[in-house]
Amino acid sequence: MAAILNPLIVCQDIWKVYRIGDVDVQALRGVSLTIERGEFVAIMGASGSGKSTLMNILGCLDQPSRGHYWLNGADTGSLRSDQLAEIRNQQIGFVFQSFNLIPRTSALENAQLPLFYRGLPIRQQRALAAAALERVGLRGREEHSPTQLSGGQQQRVAIARALVASPSLLLADEPTGNLDTQSSREIMEILSELNKDGMTVILVTHEHDVAACAAREVVIKDGQIQSDCVTKTTIQVAEG
């Protein structure tokens, strides 16, 4: 067990089969993947390649049909939905393409959300959320609602929400898909910086220039890993 305890993520021969009508659709066909703490990985692939399915499994939103997924040494395959929710709450931060902020709710409260479900005292929630917003450069915008913010700012609120609970993994699903070039660059800078501070970041994208920010590129095709290569050697993988 010691060998698999060390990496943050270990996927072993993961299969995911959906049943649509009478047809079994194999979204993932035997994916094995190991990601160390502190890595910045881009998962690439065309739509329908299975990268979203893999992302859902890595994010504990879904469970594999076959195979094993260890996160921080814990096998997630046997967990109940409430236990998965707890893992999402404490170990994973999500950033989505469409921001997914709660409408008509202030930036601060959106950023507070994971702490809310952790049951922290309200003062502590506010303080941590304000610090997270400051970290993504949104100081002074705490009381703005999503409609009062630009796309780039909304995505920054989402990033603040993802990192507020100090997770061990940040999952970003096409985080720049809905943004202009300028905002995209800013968002990627924030993600790179977070990674430099030691956060493991997994980026799902189909854009090469976005993927270029990452240090490792995993390409998925037809539910299988087509290639897995380190693209940047300048960033050192943090020692376990």
Binding site: L61, S81, D82, R88, L113, F116, Y117, I122
Partner: protein
Amino acid sequence: MFTWLTIVTALRILRRNRLRAGLTLLGIVIGVAAVIAMVSIGEGAKQAVQKQIASLGTNVILIWPSRTIVGGVRGAQGGAVTLTVTDALDLKKKVPFLTDTGWYIRGAMQIVNGSQNWNGSVYGTSPSYLTIRDWSYSSGGAFTQADLDSAARVAILGQTVVEDLFDHGEEPVGAAIRINNVPFRVIGVFSPKGQSAQGWDQDDVVFIPYSTAERKVLGTLFLGSVGAIAASAARSEDLEDAVEEIRTVMRVRHRLQGDQPDDFTIRTQVDMGKVQEGTSETLTVMLMVIASVSLFVGGIGIMNILLVSVTERTREIGIRMAVGAKRVHIMTQFLIEAMTLGVVGGLIGVVVGILAARLTTIIAGWPTIISSDAVVIAFIFSVAVGLFFGLYPANKAARLNPIEALRYE
């Protein structure tokens, strides 16, 4: 901590959709208000009936002659004239439970005061009958044993008779009236008693001494025969025993053999009240049922609006699940929303219900009694309705698949 924040969140969500929440509330408000108003109307009716029963006097037992059966033909109640003054006097002597007995004969007579005339019920009674029936006087007073002994031509008038025979402001006491062309002096006026439980006007009466009625006005079949006997028991617990003893004494006095039926009927105040109380009880229950139905409909409104809300906020639910909300969290959020509707609707409903009951009394003149039981039960019920009808939508929300919920447009 979580609960408190969830309540705040639920309140905020309700405030966001003010019109929608308001209309949903309305259903509950109407339901709760209806329950409270209806129950207070029912309770008011019940108390009115109890008051009417009490207007008979306290612990009163009435004895009427039975139906006559001559050659198989049944006559009307009271058709036989079998009761006498001596029956009444003897009962008082022989039944220790009784504090007093009185008697009366009755007839409809033309009553004249100057140019006004009126046809009303004239009662020839013993003075004891007046005390047993608990009449009180708005002016003047009762006739006495001396009046009875001397067959004095004195009369006590009920309010209805006074209104019909005298001009407004004219003092009836001391006035000279004629009953069946016999001159009488008015010595008293009764305080109004209102309608009896059976619906007749208890104020449309003229009371004169029994002896005067027997000899000069109404006449009797034989000397000392009476229409009915009234007796009063000292304590209400004694009523049943008193009735039994009266029966025994009367059967002996009327020389009835073992298998002969009674030639008299005994009724207590309790017997007479039972039917009326039953009626108003039925009324209350019926009103309650109708009101509960509207509360139920209000609950369906809550469920409807929550189902819409769950669909609308599918994506939000997905987000909450993605950041770590457990099923119980989502469930609680929607349940609290439903219960908030129940609580707020219940509170407003209580106020509206009490106002509605008051208005009913003011406008329609119906007596209403706001019972705290009804208020508390209606309120608890409305919260329970919110909870019950919130369960299904809350469960639906909690069972959403986070991936599909996040993708929901």
